[in-house]
């Protein structure tokens, strides 16, 4: 595939990982140098980093769904200091550009997180997670255009690096949130994050997940993701990173046809660590569905 330009970053192909679904450091321990030699993604997006370290939610954190997965991981991470000290140096050695995904529980926290990475040459771009359904504020902030606009107006001036806003699907009007982000200077938007769900213990009837509710991902959400990517792509001019249930190059081609510039692979990597490379190859091979014609797009409006 010919290299592509994403916000000034050159990528070998349009397939990247979805934040929180691939830990390159742990994978290196499991698979050794072969991971680097055959790195499956054109860019690496790290798991959400928060200001303070987080243990994450109590176990159990996983529940399998029909053609999908529900998780309540709860954003465990070493916190900003731990990330800078331990993870960043290792991730900087990856053969692909690094995108750091951050989340703050207040605009002040996000400000400190963005500032900390603003001058880091190891970091190609920042992704703002305003959408994690496992954390109260994520849900609220990402569902409200004004909240997102206020956040960006504060952090946009702090860095020249591309800012990607990761949107939540648990909102009445996702395109409105995307437009607010674009208006306030976001360079791209990414969607969909997981959809809020729940499971009960088969025997006790109490909530199964330690976090009570969880986020649904995988093929079960693919059609929902495609609809949201489509409507957001029509609402904004900035690039869109599409994700949600991609398990084959065909699905990536569909998201691209719906307006996505890049496609992220998440849950499918759990079935095959090298899924990203396979999907990129399938995408290259696929006769891609043409981008939707003007007429099709008009038929969507009003």
């Amino acid at each position: 595939m010919t290299p592509i330009d994403f916000c000034g970053i050159e990528l070998a192909h349009p397939i990247i990982n979805a934040s929180g679904t691939f830990d390159a450091v742990a994978a290196r321990r499991a698979f050794g140098d072969e991971l680097l030699a055959r790195f499956p993604f054109a860019a690496f997006v790290s798991k959400t980093v928060t200001l303070a370290p987080r243990q994450g939610n109590p176990a159990p954190r996983l529940w399998e769904l029909p053609a999908g997965l529900m998780n309540s991981i709860g954003l465990p991470n070493k916190g900003l200091e731990g990330y800078l000290a331990h993870d960043l140096p290792e991730l900087a050695r990856l053969p692909v550009p690094l995108i750091v995904n951050v989340m703050g529980f207040s605009r002040e926290e996000v400000t400190r997180l963005v500032s900390a990475f603003a001058q880091r040459d190891e970091v190609a771009a920042l992704e703002l997670n305003v959408s994690c359904p496992n954390v109260e504020t994520g849900l609220v902030m990402g569902a409200d255009p004004d909240e997102v606009a206020r956040l960006l107006s504060v952090v946009r001036p702090l860095t020249g690096k591309p800012l990607i806003v990761k949107l939540t699907p648990n909102a009445s009007d996702v395109p409105a949130v995307a437009m607010a982000a674009e208006r306030e200077g976001a360079n791209a938007v990414a969607l969909i994050n997981t959809i809020r769900g729940m499971a009960l213990h088969p025997r006790t009837g109490a909530p199964w997940l330690g976090g009570t509710t969880g986020g649904v991902s995988g093929p079960a959400v693919r059609a929902i993701a495609l609809a949201q990517v489509r409507s957001v792509s029509e609402a904004v001019a900035i690039p869109v990173i599409g994700m949600g249930g991609v398990s084959h190059g065909r699905h990536a081609a569909e998201l691209i046809a719906a307006g996505a510039s890049l496609v992220a692979v998440g849950t499918e990597s759990f079935r095959d660590p090298a899924a990203g490379a396979r999907i990129a190859a399938e995408l290259g091979a696929a006769a891609r569905p043409p981008r939707l014609s003007g007429q099709d797009i008009l038929s969507l409006r009003g």
């Binding site: 050794g32 109590p58 399998e64 079935r271 660590p273």
Partner: protein, 273 residues
């Protein structure tokens, strides 16, 4: 065969194909004998993520979707074969137990950290409960020298699995084979008789917790092979955490074998057994 610093045998990157060359029933259990030409020889206690390469899904509640974790039961040194011991407890294991000779599997592994050699020449006591005997069989093969397998089962149908280890002492809940009662009762006897031992245990959480408490009380070193619900098996999802004295660890990369001294409890929530 490449062994990484922390003693784990690393896995080839990506899911690869393995073929079922034979399927054997041992009472309630199914042994899948698979050919894995592309993989290394695993260490006892390591595991693989398995799924059928075709039509994985469509069972109860439209599952399975994710691969499933299985310890290696046996990995004959001179062959490319991997043996897995499978108990049918849900849609995934049901489908695996139904696979015929020639069926293709998608596998990732070996994964995780296996058992470490007994400290200063101690005798290895292998304590297994139910399907938890699997990693102990390979450990017995690899240790070679004297080991003492203590195996507990629900009933006679499950006790058929005991034949997979050499010279086991058996306990069954219903007394249909060996000692009537818990395998931990056999362990107490052994600990009363022998002092210079190290315990290797795998089985249902209540059994592992009993073993942990017992060994803590008697200051006997123990390595426990735990279970927890897993999605990826290689550290990607952060879903398989268990609580240790040092906080949560991902069982798939920091385990599944954990030194009992690091565990406040072996009762892992949602392990499913």
């Amino acid at each position: 065969m490449s062994v990484a610093v922390d003693g784990r045998v690393q896995a080839p990157f990506g899911a690869r194909e393995a073929r079922v060359v034979a399927r054997e029933r041992h009472g309630a259990y199914t042994v899948l004998r698979c050919a894995d030409p592309a993989g290394p020889r695993p260490q006892a206690g390591q595991f693989y993520m398995l799924r059928a390469a075709e039509r994985w899904g469509g069972g109860a509640d439209e599952r399975p979707y994710l691969p499933r974790a299985f310890s290696v039961l046996r990995a004959p040194a001179e062959s490319d074969e991997l043996l897995f011991l499978v108990e049918d407890v849900g849609p995934g294991t049901e489908q695996l137990c139904a696979l015929h000779e020639g069926a293709r599997l998608a596998i990732v592994g070996p994964l995780g950290v296996g058992f470490a050699a007994p400290r200063d020449g101690r005798t290895a006591l292998l304590v297994g409960g139910g399907v938890g005997i699997a990693p102990l069989a390979l450990w017995q093969d690899q240790l070679g020298e004297d080991t003492v397998p203590l195996l507990g089962f629900r009933d006679g149908d499950h006790a058929a699995g005991a034949a997979l280890l050499a010279e086991p002492k058996i306990a069954t809940d219903d007394g249909s084979a060996g000692h009537r009662g818990l395998v931990t009762e056999l362990l107490v006897r052994e600990l009363d008789e022998r002092s210079h031992v190290e315990v290797y245990a795998c089985g249902p959480p209540p059994m592992l917790e009993a073993v942990r408490a017992l060994c803590a009380e008697r200051a006997v070193p123990a390595q426990l092979a735990l279970e927890s619900g897993m999605a990826c098996g290689y550290g990607a999802c952060f879903g398989c955490v268990v609580q240790t004295t040092g906080g949560y660890v991902r069982l798939c990369v920091d385990g599944p074998v954990i030194d009992a001294a690091l565990l406040p409890t072996a009762l892992t929530p949602g392990a499913g057994h």
